[in-house]
Amino acid sequence: MIRLQEYVPIVGQSVIDDLRLIATRLEGKSIQHINSTSVGGGVAEILNRMVPLLQELGVGTRWDLIKGGEQFFEVTKKFHNALHGYSAEITKKDFEIFLETSQQNINEVDTFGNIVFVHDPQPIALVKKKQGNKWLWRCHIDVSNPDEKVWNFLMEYIVRYDSAVFSAPSFSRRLPIRQFLISPSIDPLSDKNKELPQDIVDAVLSKYKIPQDKPMITQISRFDRLKDPLGVIEAYKEVKKHIDCRLVLAGGGAADDPEGAVIFTQVMEKAKNDKDIHILLLAQNDIEINALQRASTVIIQKSIREGFGLTVAEALWKAKPVVASNVGGIPLQVKHKYSGLLCHSVAGAAFAIKQLLNSPVYAMKLGENGREHIRSNFLITRHLRDYMLLFLSLYHPEDIVHL
């Protein structure tokens, strides 16, 4: 298990000292995280790292799960898509299934924490048990343009919480409760982000038969329409007219996603006559992702929509120049011309990539700025600090809190 002290060489002793200082103000408080799964997905990944670190800081923290059957999770998946703005046929029966499972969880889950921290919509109805303790609702989803029927259904519960937390300002709406902005984070000590020796990077490139003879443009993302892999290939082809380079599209997740499989086929078709395009369908392998990012000259993230887009933070942490779409949480990570280049179209992406390949000193400066921006704002230590301040805010309604 990773200990807090191991982050000192990365963020400095004073940042860790601050975490210990804040933690003392939470003495005696118990925090209870509740979500729907302990494995898979971003929420579980964050909690797996966050909970032990909070415990090491002396903040009493427990992580509990709700239960639900296949039907329940089918409904919550529909909710998820609807909150992302996709039209989904949600029936009266679906709402009944949600309410029925929620009631079972209300009966069974002991919400003992001084602070109950509920993640995402699946366990949202537990707030009906609220009795004198503090309740937080953490929304990890892009709800900038939600299906109103589902949002209004959830609002009945949201307003009972003390505060809500969103990942980007564009996800916020006018609410009768306090709402905070807390971005997700990456862990610099995880396999996906830790330093790698050059021989491992070389071995991964060799495994996938990627020669290191020309600049390499990379997008790491599952093969999904919203990640626009076809647009990435078009941008690469524009760049290729003027600069000899390679394109790597690497990601997973097509197998259990019918639409993903279609997109993957389209990508293969579009790439088939160019030996400098490398399409890698990867199983989950964080070291390989890390190596591909480190081997890249420019990293692109040309998403059409994005919850937060932590692949951008991963790239910037490796001091890579990034070209990324101005959507979701990406503009928080990339300030145009300061820590990367933002784009709105294929042509814009191609132009930005050409600029970076032709101006390596400028590209390096953007990458270095990006790394420091991530160090200050998007590492797990900042996330821990924000969560502890969030807990304290429940007991302090004022704007300037003297502790």
């Binding site: 400095g12 002793q13 004073s14 940042v15 000292d17 601050d18 200082l21 804040i22 103000r25 900038s144 969103f166 300002p169 564009s170 916020s172 709406r173 006018r174 609410l175 306090r178 709402q179 905070f180 902005l181 807390i182 101005n326 959507v327 300030k335 145009h336 300061y338 820590s339 700025n369 420091e372 921006h373 200050s376 704002n377 600090r385 924000d386 301040l389 969030l390 304290l392 805010s393 704007d399 300037i400 809190v401 003297h402 502790l403």
Partner: protein, 224 residues
């Protein structure tokens, strides 16, 4: 060697950590922006004129405040962006006055440039008003002479420097920064205090600011 003498009162370093609170308010045009600037709490004006200093503390050159950035990059009003970016925040010791200045700059521009009010942000690029909630916590660092002060300056966090320089002066309305106040009133070195007061912290990164403060005090210690 007054600078090595014990100060009348010790100096305790504080740290200030902040949490961003969302207001749910958003603007898509300049007219909406100025209307909301008049309505939002002072902690929101403070947030949007100071956030970059902390979040982009290593960037050089440093980006301007949020209003200037949005007006320039999203609405394409570069001249107004420049006017907003060059507001001398050091002139103001109250958020109220800073807010009035921002309003007057935008309103004057709207009168001059009639077409500016027709510009609007695309969906997803609206200006979102956020406010800062500050948590002020005493650290364990306490000093009673300048030599120790400069040693601690080398290791405290940017949050701590930020608190004593920016937040104390403008948000807590102390009129000067905490370091100058202590050096003048407890150490009794007005000349040194004035030198620190004259530093413009808004045109430096926090890293540069730390180096400048240490440099000024070091010079005083070695060339009293």
């Amino acid at each position: 060697m007054s600078h090595l003498l014990k100060a009348k009162e010790p100096f305790r370093f504080y740290t200030r950590l902040h949490l961003s609170e969302l207001t749910g308010l958003r603007a898509t045009t300049l007219v909406q922006l100025v209307k909301l600037i008049k309505e939002v709490p002072g902690s929101s004006i403070y947030h949007h004129t100071h956030r970059f200093l902390q979040q982009h503390q290593f960037f050089s050159p440093e980006p301007p405040n949020d209003f200037a950035y949005w007006v320039t990059e999203i609405l394409g009003e570069k001249e107004l962006g420049e006017r907003l970016a060059s507001i001398d925040i050091m002139q103001f010791s109250r958020i109220y006055d800073l807010r009035e200045k921002i309003i007057s700059v935008i309103e004057a521009y709207l009168k001059e440039e009639r077409f500016a009010q027709l510009k609007f942000a695309r969906e997803g690029e609206e200006f979102h008003f956020i406010k800062s909630v500050s948590f002020v916590i005493p650290t364990n660092y306490v000093v009673d002479n300048l030599a120790d002060f400069v040693e601690i300056m080398k290791k405290i966090t940017f949050d701590s420097i930020y608190f004593h320089i920016f937040e104390a002066r403008l948000r807590l309305e102390k009129k000067t920064n905490d370091f100058s106040f202590w050096i003048e009133h407890s150490v009794g070195d007005k000349k040194l205090a004035d030198e620190l007061t004259d530093l413009d912290p808004y045109t430096r990164t926090l890293d540069d600011l730390r180096a400048a403060i240490i440099n000024i005090i070091d010079k005083r210690l070695f060339n009293p």
